[in-house]
Amino acid sequence: MSFFINALFASMFVGGLIPVIIGFASYHSLTPVKRLILALMVCSLGLNIIQITLALHSIPNLFIGHIYTLIEFILIAYIYKLKLDKLIPLSVFIAIVVGFVVFSLFNTFVIQGLHANNSYQRTLESVLVVVFVSLYFYKTAKELKVQRIEREPLFWFSAGALLYFSGALFIFIFSNYLLLYSRSLGITFWTAHTFFLLLFYLFSTIALWINPKK
């Protein structure tokens, strides 16, 4: 079983490393949106490494999830703020981000605790990201400014985010329950989560790789 878990860790590490390499290889030509995607991938890789290291040394690592979710949501919200500024007023964006940060802090220190799995925070994040992605798709289809959607970096990032956050939504909702009552089921569904995460990394790599001007 430990070999299987190690393989999961290794795939998360390698999967997270590829977009970071691709992003830094073309850093000077990256657009602001691509730089934010790269920042997200760097945070993801960094916190993954810390989480894996702590896990390998049998040190509790669940508190990393609270911090990572907060950073991840702020970066994703900023990416969509750049693209949805005409659809969602700035004040609404600020209210969403502030509301999420307040809820996260409350969840971390009051509701679930720093050393518990942050399932509520992840679930709320997933729902909000799915809303942002849906609004982005709606805007893209309505405005028709993009001639070739397969060459649009944010489309690939959004597709990856939608697949990851909607696929993993149920896992986030039941994550505490899974880990608490059935270890084998927990591992099975965290494997599924890793699959969705790798998809997200793959789509983010494509987003960082493609150039719409070509």
Binding site: S134, T140, A141, L144, E150, A159, L162, I171, Y181
Partner: protein
């Protein structure tokens, strides 16, 4: 949690994950296909719009040519006749010694006016073009420019083939516009023109040693910019392609490619 509960829970969770994941896939596919279809529709609409614009341009051109022909005829038949009659009356006055000097001057002025009318009429509808073809008409145009503006205009061509008159007229107007630009805007001292008749293709080359122009920054509102737009429009009506090449202080080049339509 006993085993049956575990299986039931796993089944429910898998179904939930499967449904949301599939929903996400469907949404992404829908966005891709919807966007592609709308883009294609937009492209189609743009093509139709371009076609309509081309038809409009063609119709405007035809009306313009008709009007040019009418004015040329009026000038030649009416003003030309009036001037000839005036010259006839003047010939009687020239014989009278007391007004002979004035009469001679008037006679010269009438001659100049008649020549100008002929020239304007000819420029409006190149008779030469209809009768003898493109090479002869361009040759004559080059000769006139060379005589009037003290600049070298070289015209090279291979064996001529007659094209459909609309094509010949369109090419003639483009050459007129190019030479006009060379004279007015480029301040060129040397112009090189060449036409090549191939079995199915007609090629026109233009080159001058004038001041050149930054084509990218050329304001659409300027006269020169409008001239270029006009030539592009004419080339589109002829179903041909015109390309311009120029840089400041580096002369101006143009090339026109057409599929030949015979008359």
């Amino acid at each position: 949690m006993d085993q049956s509960q575990e299986i039931e829970f796993a089944w429910l969770l898998t179904t939930g994950i499967g449904i949301t994941f599939m929903l996400a896939v469907v949404i992404i596919l829908f966005v891709v296909f919807y966007q592609k279809r709308l883009s294609q529709q937009q492209l189609h609409m743009q093509e139709l719009e371009n076609q309509q614009q081309q038809q409009l341009f063609s119709a405007t051109n035809q009306v313009q040519e008709k009007e040019r022909k009418r004015i040329a005829h009026d000038l030649h038949d009416d003003v030309g006749v009036v001037l000839s009659t005036a010259k006839l009356y003047l010939s009687h006055l020239i014989d009278q010694p007391e007004i002979q000097e004035v009469a001679q001057k008037i006679d010269q002025l009438v001659d100049t006016a008649a020549q100008n009318v002929r020239q304007i009429s000819h420029n409006l509808t190149p008779q030469n073009l209809e009768k003898f073809g493109l090479v002869s008409a361009i040759n004559e145009m080059c000769k006139h420019i060379q005589e009037a503006h003290q600049l070298e205009v070289k015209f090279e061509h291979n064996e001529e083939e007659r094209l459909a008159f609309e094509q010949e007229l369109g090419v003639y107007r483009i050459v007129q516009e190019l030479l006009n630009n060379g004279l007015k805007h480029a301040q060129a001292s040397e112009i090189l023109l060449g036409v090549v008749f191939q079995p199915k293709k007609f090629i026109l080359h233009y080159q001058d040693n004038g001041v050149g122009v930054d084509l990218e920054n050329l304001a659409k509102t300027s006269n020169f910019g409008l001239g270029l737009q006009n030539m592009i429009g004419k080339a589109e009506v002829l179903k041909g392609q015109i390309k311009f090449q120029s840089k400041p202080a580096n002369g101006f080049r143009a090339s026109l490619n057409l599929e030949i339509q015979h008359s």
